[in-house]
Amino acid sequence: MSQDVQPAAAETPATDPAGPRRGVPVDWIAVAVGAVFAVLAAVRVLPAIPWDTVTIPLIK
């Protein structure tokens, strides 16, 4: 590759040089969805709904 040294770019704040990015991070949505399922399990709602009986035979 060309290793030409160009004028040093000014330091920027700690944010991504690509600029501010729109949208909600998928990671946080995944954590939120995971939290909902964890709470449903913790309060014994998840095992009580017929989700398992319907879906486990499909995916077993």
């Binding site: 060309s2 160009q6 040089p17 729109r22 998928v26 954590v31 939290a35 913790a42």
Partner: protein, 366 residues
Amino acid sequence: MSTATAPRPWADRFTGVPVLRYVPGILLLIVIGLAGKWAQAELKVVAAKTGTHLPDIEYVLWAIVLGLIIANTIGVHPIFRPGVGTYEFWLKIGIVLLGARFILGDLAKVGGVSLGLILIDGTIAVTTVLLLSKAFGLKGKLGSLLAIGTAICGVSAIIAGKGAIEADDEESGYSIAAILALGAVALFSFPAIGHALHLSQHAFGLWAGLAVDNTAETTATGAIYGPEAQNIAVLVKSTRNALIGFVVLGFALYWASRGQAAGVASGFGNRARFVWEKFPKFVLGFIAVSALATWGVFTKGDIASLGNVSKWAFLLTFAGVGLNTDLRAFAKSGWRPFLVGALSLAVVAVTSLLLVLGATAVFDLG
């Protein structure tokens, strides 16, 4: 989908496409995943009826192959693309819920051992990729992106690194294409090698977590070998993913020092913020769910239910791996990035296998 050329709206951010637009693609993921399940079960039935010995091919492989065939023959119709692109989202949900299968002590033990192995392996990976990139005349930032993708976590790491080192779309596209192609190679080759070497589930999971580049492919490679191998592979890979910020920071500072990228403001606070921005937050969810399991919040039945949800999330992921792999994009990117990646994968695979065999014996990881 042309992973190598098109933006990946669901790779790390949800950008507000109307929710209904995701439905057809998500349904396609479900259909392909279940078709994989059906194919695995039917092959067993045929084997039993005919009395022939047929290999038990995991549904993961069927789903991926079906997806690959569709994506590379008739192609994925635009109506399905938004939903099909969500496969990494399902992967992250699956990983968060997989936390219920681990107690924090196990996380600390396996995570601690794997952290040491990752640091050794990652150093070797970065050095190998950079040396080979120079030898094959790849542009510097392309080599950096391949090194980031090989050492840490594939596509997500490349996307994080692209902005930080100001690589162009072509360089990131080539890197993503090479990393995904090599992930596919690992999917088919690692389980065969693991069986040939009679690796235990634990050892194979460690190996896949250390050496396979992209998280979805790592999870699938582990799943093809067995459920315990999958769990360990996900745990090791999540540890690897957690280091993404440090590696990207290193490359960002390097390219800034050469005047070819905007730097990161100096000072511990600014750099810590940079590392935090790149940190994969779903790992925190995985640890949080594991903490709940450790504190006895879940009964056995709860854990089984969460495991079921996690399996469904992974089913959608595996279907998406094939559908999102466009072999034509790899061909367009040329042979050199792929060759550099392939040689690096071979070096990393051998190194990590030796590390795993050593660590398994020393730490009694069974």
